[in-house]
């Protein structure tokens, strides 16, 4: 096993991306993700054939990804909420062109310029409307610096396998904090052997990367084929973590940074004799519906904790077909809830059930 190191989430993710063979990065400054751009600007110029480029805008950066991915490279960009809004056009084109890319969103508070503190207010954007059109993107939600590292590798592999964009939905807390991490082995640049890549072919062998299908019948078929792939991903690649669910009356659920807080509160609740359990979606799309449905067979209520006004809560209700009540506790605007606040909510619900 390689040695543990102390690294910021943003920097650890950047290093892990390089080690996963991502030697092309296009970015633009925005707090709180700047460490990723800065790290790439330091490391990539030292690798032969690699490319770091600070684009003139988020829009340009995502379109540089489109080109680089079309040419066959493993490629990544990173931004934070307002910048991701600008990238949605490109993400839609990339999804419509069946190209693999990885986009990191170190979320901050919105709407508008919002704030720069950690937030989870881009759940809807990432999981429901990452761009116009019928499309899905893979959404990974790390909750520790180690997961920032591990998920970027998975995101690249999955994006390549299914030829689609992947979003790492992190937040300012995960990006800025340091934890001990073990970095993966350096896999080196991945061979540019994608047979669909536009990297130089003539005549009948030529490749076209395109999202335009003027004939609706043709476009319908392409979208249906794409959704068949999405269905396969939902069946095979949904990930979640669960804790103390066996006898849980109250299931607390959260993803990312707020999951750290929520799980701590569940532990405290157990110490007080409350039968609390915990589900954490690791993939937000595909959403771990079955885990919730199963828990709803025995639990008497759910509590969804988010750093927003409640964006995942409806997915939880859908997953359990509203079989039992789903409560919500959230802090918007850039505030990380404290474990005591969540514990108080759990106690309130537990009290109401007796």
């Amino acid at each position: 096993m390689s040695q543990r190191v102390l690294m910021k989430g943003n920097e650890a993710l950047a290093e892990a991306a390089i080690r996963a063979g991502c030697h092309h990065f296009f970015g633009y400054p925005i707090t709180p993700q700047n460490e990723i751009v800065a790290y790439m600007s330091k490391r990539l110029p030292k690798i032969e054939g690699a490319c770091f480029l600070q684009a003139e805008s988020e829009i340009a950066a995502i379109n540089m990804l489109l080109g680089a991915s079309a040419a066959g490279a493993r490629v990544m960009t990173s931004s934070s909420s307002p910048g991701i809004s600008l990238k949605t056009e490109g993400i839609s084109y990339i999804a419509g062109s069946d190209l693999p890319v990885v986009v990191v969103n170190t979320q901050r508070a919105g709407p508008g310029l919002g704030g720069i503190q950690p937030s989870q207010a881009d759940y809807w954007q990432a999981t429901k409307a990452p761009g116009h059109g019928d499309l899905r993107v893979l959404v990974f939600a790390p909750c520790s610096v180690q997961e920032m590292v591990d998920m970027v590798t998975t995101a690249f592999d999955m994006a390549d396998k299914y030829r689609m964009p992947a979003i790492i939905l992190a937040d300012g807390m995960l990006g800025q904090m340091m934890e001990a991490v073990t970095l993966p082995e350096d896999r080196g640049r991945q061979a540019n052997n994608k047979e669909w890549a536009t990297n130089g072919h003539a005549g009948e062998n030529r490749n076209i990367i395109n999202s335009l299908y003027i004939n609706p019948d043709e476009l319908e078929k392409i979208i249906r084929d794409r959704f068949a792939r999405y269905a396969e991903i939902e069946a095979k690649h949904t990930q979640h973590e669960e804790y103390a669910l066996e006898d849980a009356d109250i299931v607390v659920t959260a993803y990312g940074a707020s999951a750290r807080v929520a799980k701590a509160a569940v532990r405290d609740a157990r110490a007080k004799g409350i039968k609390a359990g915990f589900i954490r979606p690791i993939t937000l799309w595909p959403f771990p519906k079955e885990a919730y449905a199963k828990a709803a067979n025995t639990a008497r209520s759910f509590l969804c904790v988010e750093m927003s006004m409640g964006q995942m809560v409806d997915d939880v209700r859908l997953a359990i077909s509203s079989k039992v009540p789903v409560h919500f506790y959230g802090r918007p605007g850039g505030i990380v809830p404290a474990p005591e606040e969540v514990l108080a909510e759990i106690e309130k619900i537990a009290g109401g059930m007796n």
Binding site: F26, I59, A60, L66, G67, S97, N199, H201
Partner: protein, 251 residues
């Protein structure tokens, strides 16, 4: 038997989708000939815009990528940075390049991005039905300037080659026209020169081609050519605006 005329290898046998009398077809041919001339068909990647040339990926017989509206220079940047030995060109109209894609155009040029931009200026949005473009002339009537382009409100048309030639990253900028045989010959040479400069890794190259849009101008193809000469050429003078190899202005 001697072949006196044939389709360039870098064009497909697909019938194009342009209106009768439109000069896009000529420009496609010139670009394809230049690629053939450098024997680069299997090492060329083109980027199609949004606009009339959106289907360019069906017509150029090489690898092609279709870009979002205005973003072709950014897409081309991504391609070129991954495969620097390939010849990479964008094919863009005036709305795509000089309105929605202005930032991408200027910054690719400023970086000296080693790509070639084929800029088709016909002073109007063609695909969407003839709206005012950033290059629409003063007082020119379009669907969205029904009383003629009002300079007080809409500003003056942008001269792209002149503007870009002030940037250090630009290796070659020339404006040509496809209104006559001599001018078409000059245009062919300009495109070849731009590709050669790119092959030599010298920086950003742009060839602006004055082109017609008979359909949206409401003129016959022949009248359109006259209109181009009488109205566009005085405002958009032909010539070389930047040549790092020190070539002389031929306009």
């Amino acid at each position: 038997m001697t072949t006196v005329f044939e389709r360039p290898k870098s064009l497909t046998a697909t019938p194009n989708t342009y209106c009768p009398g439109c000069t896009h077809g000529i420009i496609h041919r010139l670009v394809a000939q230049a690629i053939d001339g450098l024997d680069m068909q299997a090492k060329t990647v083109g980027v199609a815009p949004v606009g009339c040339a959106v289907f360019a990926y069906n017509f150029f017989n090489c690898d092609m990528v279709q870009a979002p509206h205005g973003r072709a220079p950014a897409v081309a940047t991504g391609i070129k940075r991954v495969t620097p030995d390939n010849l990479v060109f964008t094919y863009q109209g005036d709305g795509d390049l000089a309105a929605i894609g202005t930032a991408e155009t200027i910054h690719a040029a400023a970086r000296g991005e080693n790509i070639t931009v084929i800029f088709v200026n016909n002073a109007i949005y063609g695909m969407t039905g003839g709206q005012m473009a950033p290059t629409t002339l003063a007082n020119q009537v379009t669907q969205t300037s029904p009383f003629g382009r009002d300079i007080k409100s809409a500003g003056s048309p942008i001269r792209i080659c002149e503007m870009l030639s002030t940037l250090d990253g630009v290796a070659y900028a020339e404006r040509v026209s496809v209104d006559s045989v001599p001018n078409i010959r000059k245009a062919a040479k300009a495109i070849c020169k731009a590709f050669e400069i790119q092959k030599a890794g010298k920086g950003f190259t742009i060839i602006e081609l004055l082109s017609t849009c008979p359909t949206n101008w409401g003129l016959s193809p022949v009248e359109s050519l006259d209109w181009l000469r009488e109205n566009m050429m005085p405002y958009y003078p032909l010539g070389v605006f930047k040549d790092i190899d020190g070539g002389k202005d031929n306009g």
